[in-house]
């Protein structure tokens, strides 16, 4: 069997780290590509990958021509057929869902479940807090940081925050521990939202939200639940396993 080579865009927030674990487990070769280090065309020429995970902004006419020339499956953003490696297939879907054999599944599938999952217990007690933030600087986050001492706030973000509560860049394990232990987390919509919800976080606040009553959320008076996300995640995993067995 030929080893499938996958090149993934090392984009902010490690969007594709979930796929990395799955691909490596299947024995595929996984290469991270940093757009600041080397151009995509050079990667395609030198590595000759079978699959490329990119972001929408990298897909231009020239790149599409290169994909066709090299017979490369392209996964753009969060879409396409990630585990069905039919070459010479190119498509863009603007939704936040992924397609597996023309069936749409929740965004949660992109989460690295070897790190983020409901069963994984937290290991770092230093990340216990009232409000944990992994979002980029946002108004709702800055508001809770300004009231120093009111809540125990910890900011663990890839983007630098100019607040004393900013702890720095956190590993995936650090983020997992924060999602498990914080009473409320403020996250960006998308991959981090899915990660937080999969850690059985009860209160996830999105960075664009306004008029959030943190007193009630922190005290546990109000709770948000995401059972539907967990269900869809479990259902999607089952389907993927079925697909793998069929192949």
């Amino acid at each position: 069997m030929t080893k499938i080579k996958i090149v993934a865009h090392a984009c902010e927030g490690n969007t594709y780290s979930g796929f990395e674990a799955a691909a490596k487990a299947k024995g595929y070769k996984w290469i991270w590509w940093d757009e600041n280090m080397v151009a995509l065309h050079d990667v395609l020429h030198e590595v000759k990958p079978d699959v490329v995970f990119t972001m929408q902004k990298n897909v231009r006419d020239g790149v599409i021509r290169a994909f066709t020339k090299y017979n490369i499956t392209n996964v753009v953003g969060n879409v396409d057929k990630p585990f069905n490696f039919t070459v010479n297939k190119y498509s863009i879907n603007g939704h936040n869902n992924i397609l597996v054999d023309n069936r749409e599944y929740e965004f949660a599938l992109l989460v690295d479940t070897s790190v983020f999952n409901p069963q994984q217990p937290p290991v770092n007690p230093l990340l216990q807090c009232d409000i944990g933030i992994t979002a980029k600087p946002c108004k709702v986050g800055l508001d809770v940081c300004t009231e120093v001492g009111k809540y125990n706030v910890k900011v663990l973000s890839d983007t630098e925050w100019s607040v004393p509560q900013y702890l720095g860049i956190g590993s995936l394990e650090n983020k997992r521990d924060l999602y498990h232990q914080a009473k409320v987390v403020i996250v960006d919509q998308g991959i981090e939202e899915a990660r937080a919800k999969l850690c059985r976080m009860n209160n996830v606040v999105l960075s664009w939200e306004t008029d959030v009553d943190f007193d009630k959320l922190v005290s546990g008076e109000v709770r948000r639940h995401y059972a539907d996300v967990l269900q869809s995640y479990e259902y999607a995993l089952e389907t993927l396993l079925e697909l793998e067995q069929e192949q």
Partner: protein, 152 residues
């Protein structure tokens, strides 16, 4: 009693000025302080105690007080079993570019290190960020207060 101070340098900074003041007073008091610096520098005031490179502190026999995040991380690698204090002169960690949570938390929340803060604001920030218990607040190397802590 031997007291070792670990500092970036003894040049013209507020931290060095107050630290040398403490060390000089400790000499008058009959104690034996030594200052270890990471880079050679002219002292900002007259020294009454020895001053050497930080690598000399490797097997130093005495209480150790580090004054910067770089010094405390180096001190933690030294084999001495003496008591190790981190005198948090400034929250330099909050200004580090591209800082990463893991290594910093391992230093600040290390159980072998006892934290001494310069002011209550620094204490509140460290307690919030790293869930540590800061027991001591001593302003500007105040002699009696700091000596009392070190003697414990």
């Amino acid at each position: 009693m031997n007291i070792g101070f670990l500092t970036e340098n003894i040049g013209a900074t507020q931290c060095s000025y107050f630290m040398i003041g403490f060390a000089n007073k400790a000499v008058e008091y009959g104690l034996s302080p030594v200052i270890f610096q990471r880079t050679l520098h002219q002292p900002c005031q007259q020294l009454l105690c020895p001053c050497m490179f930080i690598n000399e502190a490797w097997a130093y026999d005495g209480v150790m007080v580090a004054t910067s995040i770089g010094c405390i991380s180096q001190l933690l690698q030294f084999p001495s079993s003496n008591k190790k204090y981190y005198y948090v002169w400034d929250i330099g960690t909050s200004n580090l570019k591209g800082k990463v949570f893991g290594p910093l938390s391992k230093i600040i929340a290390n159980p072998d290190v006892e934290l001494i803060c310069r002011c209550s604001d620094h204490k509140a920030m460290l307690e919030n960020n790293y869930n540590v218990d800061v027991k001591h607040v001593v302003e500007n190397f105040r002699f009696e207060e700091l000596l009392e802590i070190i003697k414990q």
